[in-house]
Every structure is written in C-alpha cells, then in structure tokens.
C-alpha cells in the first residue's frame, strides 16, 4: 500500500468519525506541515499556532475533500492558505528569528556532509526567505523543502504548471546568482 493509499484509507475512516484514523492522519501530516509553516514563518510559536489552525480547517473540510488531488496536496493547500491569511493579517514586524538553524542536533544524523555545506544551506534558506514575489518563494518551499511534485506544487499554489516551472527556474537562477560565497565554500569542501 502506498503512502497515498494509506492516507486515503485513514481519511475514509476519519469521515466516519473514527478518531484512531484521525490520529493516524495527524501523525502522518503534522510534522511536514509544521516544518513547512516553521520554515515560512521563522519561529516556533506562530508555526505551532498556524499548524493548529491548519488542522482545525482540515477537520472542518474533511467531508468536502473529493479526491481530485492527493491528500498531501490538499492538506498543504490548506496550510498555504492559512499562511497567506496570516501574512495579510499580521502587523509589520522586525526580522524573524532563525534559531531553528542553531537548534539542529549537533551530534544527530545530519543530511549534510560537512559543516560548510550546512552553512551554505543556512545561507540559502535566508536567501529563499527573501525571494519575491511570494509565489516564487512558496514554490521553492513546496517543491524542494516539502518534496511535492511539480503538478502537486502547482495545484497548491493555484498556478498553471508552465507558470510554476518558470517561477522555479527564475528562483533558482536568482539563488545561484546570490550565492557566490557559498559556491566557493562548497567547491573547497568538494576538493
């Protein structure tokens, strides 16, 4: 059974009121959705709050999911809309803290091969946060950080696939242009 088939099964049970199945959906989705919102927002407290709002909307809309997309896409779409609402409502504030990078476990399993690579990733993340327009930044988050496919990302953002591909290409070009120091750092680590 694929992950999508499994989540569909839980969804079918959850809409019958099965709380065990609802819990399974939560266990499956709460980490990626929190991670998605945490990266977008930059602090734990607001990410936690928006994760709760997202799942509140998921439960409200559970019976309206028609299966036209994957459940993963649908939940991400709700999280994205929740985030957009939050951005529109909040007052302009100061720079968002990025303490997440500092709290990564020092001796735990790391996907990075070197400290330099991790540093490049950190700087890349900060550049992603500065991407404009918002849809370009959202496309990077969904496709690369959340591992959604191109059609899934386009569906979450409500964009034609061709537009999404253009946005991603432009975003990658900009990131590559803005990372000369990281290029040098990574090149040294590869040698």
């Amino acid at each position: 059974m694929t992950a999508e088939e499994q989540t569909r099964t839980w969804w079918e049970q959850a809409i019958q009121g099965d709380r065990d199945a609802g819990s399974e959906l939560l266990r499956h989705f709460h980490k990626p959705i929190f991670a998605y919102l945490r990266r977008l927002i930059g602090n734990d407290a607001d990410a936690e709050d928006l994760t709760q709002q997202t799942f509140s909307k998921v439960w409200q809309s559970l019976t309206r999911f028609r299966g036209a997309s994957s459940l993963n896409t649908w939940v991400h779409r709700i999280a994205y809309c929740t985030y957009i609402d939050w951005v529109r409502q909040r007052e302009p504030g100061g720079e968002q803290p990025q303490e997440w990078w500092n709290t990564l476990p020092a001796n735990g399993p790391s996907p990075f091969e070197s400290a330099a690579e991790a540093d490049s990733a950190r700087r890349l993340y900060l550049l992603v946060q500065g991407l404009e327009p918002e849809s370009r930044r959202a496309a990077i988050h969904l496709h690369y950080y959340q591992n959604l496919s191109l059609p899934e990302t386009a569906e979450v953002l409500g964009l034609p696939l061709s537009t999404l591909k253009y946005q991603l290409k432009a975003a990658l070009d900009e990131l590559r242009r803005l990372l000369p120091e990281s290029q040098q750092t990574l090149s040294r680590s590869e040698n």
């Binding site: 809409i15 709380r19 939560l26 991670a35 994760t51 709002q53 439960w59 890349l124 090149s187």
Partner: protein, 396 residues
C-alpha cells in the same frame, strides 16, 4: 555552488524543523471529526440498543463487532446473537485495558520515540491492565438511554435518562451534565460501519489457551485481523453456542515482538445477563448545588423533559463570549465569561452560534450532547438535532 543542480540538491537535503513534542497531543485534543455516518434504522431497533455515553467507546465497539460477523463454512454469522442481545433487560461489562503513562512504540529506531512512524500510547504491554465496569438496565421511561453506571479507578458515573452525574472517587468532586442523545447511537454506528465486512474465522481450541476446558464445548471462538498503522490488530470473540450471546471480546496487537508475537491490549467480558442488580447500583441524587454551574435548580430540572441538554463552553479562562441558541421557539441570547454552562430545553432542532467578544482566535471549547471539541477559534457553531448527537465546528 557551481550550478543549478547543486542549489537544488542543497535545498532538498535541508533537514525539516522538528515540531515541539507537545504539538501532536495538542492537535489530537483539538481534533473534531464529522459525526459518524449512520444508515436509516427503525426507531424500534435503537430503542433496545442502549449503552451509556459514559462507557468507553470500546464497549460499543465490542457489541458492534458482534453485529458484523458473517459468512459461512469455518466462519460464523451472528445475526442470531444480535437478535438475542437486543432482548436483554440488563447486563454488565467488565472492561480491562492497558493503562498508565504513554509509552513508545518504536518502528524506526533512527527516529525519536515521538516522531513518525514511532508514537506514544498508554495502551502498551508495559502498562498493567486497568479494570472498568459498566452496568446497563433497560428503562421504558427512557428507552433510548436507560439506566447506566460506569465505575473506573478514578470516577463513578451514573446516568438516568438525560441526567449524568460524574463523581471523582478521590476528591469527591461532582459534575452534572444533561445529554439527550441516544446513548448507543454514535458508538454502534461508528463501529458497525468500520467492521461491517469483517470475516471472523473459528479459532481451533489449541490456539485458544485462555479458554477454560470446561467451556470449550459451549463457546465458539473466532477472530479477525485488521492492519492498522502497519501492524496487525487481532479481534477475538467468544460466543455462547447455546444462546448466541457474546461472552468476551478481545483486541490483541502484534507491535511488540520483544514481549510476545501477540499481546492482549483490551478486552470486554459480558456477564450478568438479565440480572436484577441491587437498587443502589443505579441510584443517585442530584442537588441544587450540583446544578448551580448549569444555572438551574433541582425543582426546575424535575419539570424539564428528557430532551433537555446542557452546553458547556470553555477555553481561555476569562475570555468573554456571546452567542445565540435558535430553535422553533425562537432565539435565545447567551453571554458569559469562560468557562460557563447553561441548559437548553429545546423545541425541535437547535442551532448554536458562539463567538469571542473581541473577535480574536484563542483556545475555545464546547461540550454538548455527546460531542466535545477544543480548538483555536474565535467562533464556534453547531447543531443539536432532536434526540441526536450534536455536530460542532469552528467557523472562522
């Protein structure tokens, strides 16, 4: 960062931020699922299926599983069991379930215990069995609810019609709620749908060592499996061959090979069929002091029909809430400071609409007619159909 592919690779390898450890339990508490779908049934069918709302859903699930047995050959249909069970005037259920602190189920050793696919659960082999008891008695005055009593290590819960009294056995703290929903409805409908197509196969005697030899000839034992979260859960039923009544229902799990190939997690033992329980089993008194949090007196309660129900609103203590309760009699304005409760004597279906006075989203909860929800919202709406389970949701 020499090319686009390196940028892409670095983006993909960036580790995700981990959620706070208390986020998942918080989300689970806030979960509000749709009311269970139900098939149209005759009123007579439900009249005799009464279990207390206060019993754990398991008791209802147990009965519902009995309802779902079917097929032929080495499997067994239990239509006759259902028929006989519905004729009972009274019975008792002894429930044993693993209870204690939440403990980890590790499926991926590279992940933390609280991280998917691992999880924490109190129903764990390291926890001892906790025993709860449930008594049921049919009452023609309130055929949809009856008289019930539940006794757990922590609480004593009585129900007479729509009146429920919960007493904390350690502190003596008392709480009264009014619930007019049909008590069996949600549990049995939910479990019935979930297990409708389950096939139970007979278990050979040698594979049922917990079946006393003296009972072996008179008890049919069958089991079915269900895969859940990648693990097999086993449901085993004991049926009296002579009268088709259920004697025992068990749930086993296979997620703990370090303990045993299969571990008993929960069981319900049905006993005392049609017994004349002592009068004080179901007797309880509700006082004016008990009812004060609901804003009514005992004499007012006595004048109310069994369709009356209570609504409790809670969340951030001190938050001010206003709202309306609409039914065929008109619109009732409600206002208060969280937490607070009130009683509604309904005329037909009821619509509920409550909101934070300042319009801000914050923890906001509601308990009404067999339904409870705790969420983050500025507005909660709901409906209470006549004699049915309430349906509630946030409405921001």
């Amino acid at each position: 960062m020499s090319n686009e592919h390196n940028v892409e690779a670095l983006l993909r390898r960036t580790p995700p931020p981990e959620p706070p450890v208390d986020l998942l339990p918080c989300l689970e508490r806030q979960m509000h699922l749709p009311a269970p779908a139900t098939r149209p049934v005759s009123r007579g069918f439900w009249h005799r299926l009464w279990l207390p709302a206060t019993s754990l859903a398991g008791a209802a699930a147990a009965v519902a599983l009995v309802l779902s047995l079917w097929t032929a050959g080495t499997t067994r249909t239990l239509a006759a069991s259902v028929s006989e069970f519905m004729k009972l005037k009274s019975f008792r259920v002894i429930e044993r379930v693993r209870g204690g602190p939440a403990r980890p189920v590790i499926k991926d050793k590279s992940q933390q215990p609280q991280n998917w696919p691992n999880y924490l659960t109190p129903i764990h082999p390291d926890n001892p069995f906790v025993e709860n008891q449930h008594w049921f008695k049919y009452d023609p005055r309130t055929p949809n609810q009856g008289l019930t009593r539940t006794r757990t290590p922590q609480t004593d819960i009585w129900r007479d019609g729509n009146v429920i009294l919960t007493v904390n056995r350690a502190t003596g703290e008392r709480e009264v709620t009014l619930d007019s929903a049909q008590t069996m409805f949600a549990g049995i409908a939910n479990s019935l749908l979930g297990n409708r197509d389950t096939a139970f196969r007979e278990v050979p005697r040698r594979e049922a060592p917990d079946l006393p030899p003296a009972l072996a000839a008179s008890v049919w034992v069958g089991e079915a499996t269900r895969t859940f979260n990648g693990a097999m859960h086993i449901c085993r039923v004991w049926i009296n061959r002579a009268n088709d009544l259920p004697l025992r229902i068990q749930w086993w799990g296979t997620e703990w090979p370090e303990f045993a190939p299969r571990v008993l997690l929960q069981e319900w033992e049905f006993t005392d069929f049609n017994a004349e329980f002592p009068t004080d089993t179901f007797a309880f008194e509700v006082t004016d002091a008990d009812l004060a949090p609901l804003g009514i007196t005992r004499s007012e309660l006595d004048k109310m029909p069994a369709t009356a129900f209570s609504v409790r609103l809670d969340g951030v203590s001190g938050a001010k809430v206003v709202g309306t309760v609409k039914d065929e009699a008109g619109v009732r304005d409600v206002k208060g400071t969280l937490p607070f409760a009130f009683v509604q004597n309904p005329a037909g279906d009821v619509k509920l609409d409550f909101r934070m006075v300042d319009g801000k989203q914050r923890n906001f909860g509601i308990s009404v007619n067999g339904t409870a929800m705790n969420t983050v919202a500025s507005r909660i709406v709901g409906t209470v159909p006549k004699g049915g389970n309430a349906s509630v949701s946030s409405a921001d």
